[in-house]
């Protein structure tokens, strides 16, 4: 089911947490809400779930206005950061809970509930553990029980709040791949919140980058990485360098030098130049390039990370070079970004 968030505003004791935010989530999509803490991503997720109600604005599930419904009526699946499993119930009872509490008219027969719960446990690879209690499971197993429990009610939309936040790195990676598989098999519309960009870029069909209660950019992982549309996204996703420059007659100047990049159609005046450390080419000599002194050089796995001081202001940038390229401290180095973006202040 597709979910549309329209002009949502949310205030907590008169402080805005979300400001006039709209978002369309397509049916069957796996979408990530990515942002630093305090960006409002969890608030947005809880608004969709109905765990909070918006100060203003509407949320549609398909054609239905969901904002007038309580959380119980929305039929969503929510996976909490700390799983929130019912500790006095077995794994099976946890998964079956959403079905067993339905009013008699909509409740499947006992045997049917059990069958569906067991099927789901099979799907999340926990067959055989149905009689255990949550306290007897590992973190990753609890996470999977929580997911099975949320899916048992056949939700309109599956919402996950930092689903891997409480797990250690190894388990995280495994579960990430596994969640993608489950999603591809079941096709639930899924929204998950994360502050981990690797997780968002690796897992999601589309990523929603949020900051300070606003959406900065919505796009596929490639779009987000290759064409960030704001300084925030440039800085938040991946590594990037920022140089204060000047545009004059379509040419870009750093202090008193041309750097060999042009910005046709750009108005004159100061701006910021963003480029990624690996989007550069080394140049010999320099008739229009960025040139500076190497202040530090580190080998990180398959690349060499070189820090360079540029210009009189000694602005530091980091570039990535092939490891065989020697770059010792104090050496002069010249390069030119191959891919960059300008932002006005």
């Amino acid at each position: 089911m597709d979910v549309r968030v329209k002009d949502i505003r949310k205030e907590f004791s008169h402080l805005p947490a979300l400001e006039n935010l709209s978002l369309n989530i397509r049916s069957g999509e796996l979408i990530a809400l990515l942002g630093p803490s305090g960006s409002g991503k969890t608030t947005l997720l809880r608004l969709i779930a109905g765990l909070e109600s918006p100060t203003r604005g509407t949320i549609y599930f398909g054609e239905d206005d969901a904002s007038s419904k309580t959380v119980q009526e929305r039929n969503i699946g929510f996976v909490f950061q700390h799983y929130a499993l019912f500790r006095h119930m077995t794994v099976l009872d946890n998964v079956a809970f959403g079905l067993t509490i339905r009013p008699a008219a909509r409740r499947p027969a006992k045997a049917e509930i059990r069958r569906r719960a067991l099927d789901l446990l099979d799907l999340v690879q926990l067959s055989g553990l149905e009689k255990r209690y949550p306290a007897q499971l590992s973190g990753g197993q609890r996470q999977r029980v929580a997911l099975a429990r949320a899916m048992a009610v056949e939700p309109n939309v599956l919402l996950l709040d930092e689903p891997f936040g409480a797990l250690d790195a190894q388990v995280r990676k495994e579960l990430r791949r596994w969640l993608r598989e489950i999603h591809d098999r079941t096709g639930h519309t899924t929204v998950f919140v994360t502050h981990d960009q690797d997780e968002a870029l690796e897992l999601a069909d589309r990523v929603v980058v949020m900051s300070k209660g606003r959406i900065e950019q919505v796009g596929t992982p490639d779009e987000i990485y290759d064409e960030p549309n704001s300084p925030f996204v440039y800085g938040f996703i991946g590594q990037s360098n920022c140089l204060p420059i000047r545009v004059e007659a379509g040419q870009i100047w750093l202090e008193d030098r041309l750097i060999g990049l042009s910005a046709p159609g750009e108005a004159d005046g100061p701006a910021k130049l963003f480029f990624r450390p690996h989007d550069i080419e080394l140049v010999d000599g320099c008739g229009g390039c960025l040139a500076g002194i190497v202040v530090q050089s580190r080998r990180v796995a398959g690349t060499r990370h070189v820090e360079v001081e540029l210009g009189a202001a000694r602005t530091r940038v980091e570039i990535e070079l092939p490891p065989q390229r020697a770059a010792s401290d104090g050496n002069r180095i010249a390069f030119r970004p191959t891919r960059f973006k300008l932002f006005r202040d």
Binding site: F12, S13, G50, L51, E52, S53, T55, T70, V71, Q72
Partner: protein, 296 residues
């Protein structure tokens, strides 16, 4: 109405849909709070009000004259004496026990902790009886004590022993979880800096546990001054000699001297109230430094 505005669920946001998810409807809240307040009023507040009302039924003068009765006065003295002996004894024990249990790992620790808690699960009357069986003239020790002119039963030593028994776990029980939580790293740091064992205890451990210690002593003292069953069995009820305040309350009440009985009771109730106030203040200000386990 002020109550109206503030009658809210703890930290629930203000919007209406949310309230349905994690708290009750307003009507349900009012009923639940009303029921509990009624229960508290009936079972906790009413007895307290009765004590003070009955004590002052005939005015302050009679209240004061009831307290200045020589037998009552000596009961107050005895109670202070008994608490003055048994509380420090259990304080020293409590610190020693919690030091051994919280700072070291040894075999049988859990069993030792259970043994320390034992007096809590013994009926006060049984607590008194065991000392009667130990020291009465029919016992093993009895004839020997008698021949040496040592009087324990129906005298102050017996009352102190019974009081020490019933208040035995109080201090240790507050300190053990607190000291376990604090671990041993502070002490190890002090020792590594060259402090002696006593210096470490005095300058490092004691400041860390002082509020928990005070809390334990407070509870211990309240029980020591108020103990009835155990003391009643060993005291022999000799007026003006072996009657503590609670025993004096019983005697006066059974003699139908209600005002006098309630006057002494009011003093004890005042002690309880002061204990509760200090306890609440300690919990409010130093909750982190008082052991999490608040039950007894």
């Amino acid at each position: 109405m002020a109550l109206d505005a503030s009658l809210s669920a703890a930290d629930a946001p203000a919007s209406s849909n949310v309230r349905a998810a994690t708290t009750e409807s307003r009507a349900a809240r009012v009923v639940i709070i009303g029921l509990s307040l009624l229960f508290v009023a009936l079972f906790l507040v009413a007895p307290l009000v009765v004590v003070f009302t009955e004590a002052f039924r005939n005015g302050t003068e009679e209240f004061l004259s009831a307290l200045s009765d020589p037998d009552t006065f000596s009961a107050i003295q005895l109670t202070l004496l008994v608490a003055g002996i048994s509380v420090p004894l259990n304080l020293v024990f409590g610190i020693a026990a919690s030091w051994a249990i919280a700072k070291f790992e040894f075999k049988g620790k859990a069993f030792l902790t259970t043994l320390i808690d034992l007096p809590f699960s013994v009926s006060p009357v049984v607590s008194g009886l065991i000392f009667v069986l130990l020291f009465s003239s029919h016992s093993l020790l009895g004839p020997w004590l008698q021949s040496h002119g040592i009087k324990i039963l129906f005298a102050v030593p017996g009352i102190v022993l019974a009081t020490v028994f019933v208040t035995f776990p109080f201090v240790a029980r507050e300190l053990i979880p607190l000291m376990q939580e604090q671990g041993t790293s502070d002490e190890e740091a002090a020792l590594s800096l060259g402090a002696s064992g006593w210096q470490t205890f005095w300058y490092v451990t004691l400041p860390n546990i002082r509020w928990g210690l005070l809390y334990g002593v407070l509870l211990c003292n309240a029980r020591a001054m108020g103990e009835f069953g155990a003391v009643s069995v060993v005291s022999g009820h000799i007026r003006g000699v072996t009657n503590t305040m609670p025993l004096q309350v019983e005697i006066l009440y059974n003699e139908y001297s209600f005002v006098a009985a309630f006057a002494v009771a009011a003093l004890l109730a005042l002690l309880a109230l002061v204990t509760l106030v200090i306890k609440s203040l300690l919990e409010l200000r130093y909750s982190a430094q008082i052991a999490a386990s608040r039950r007894h």
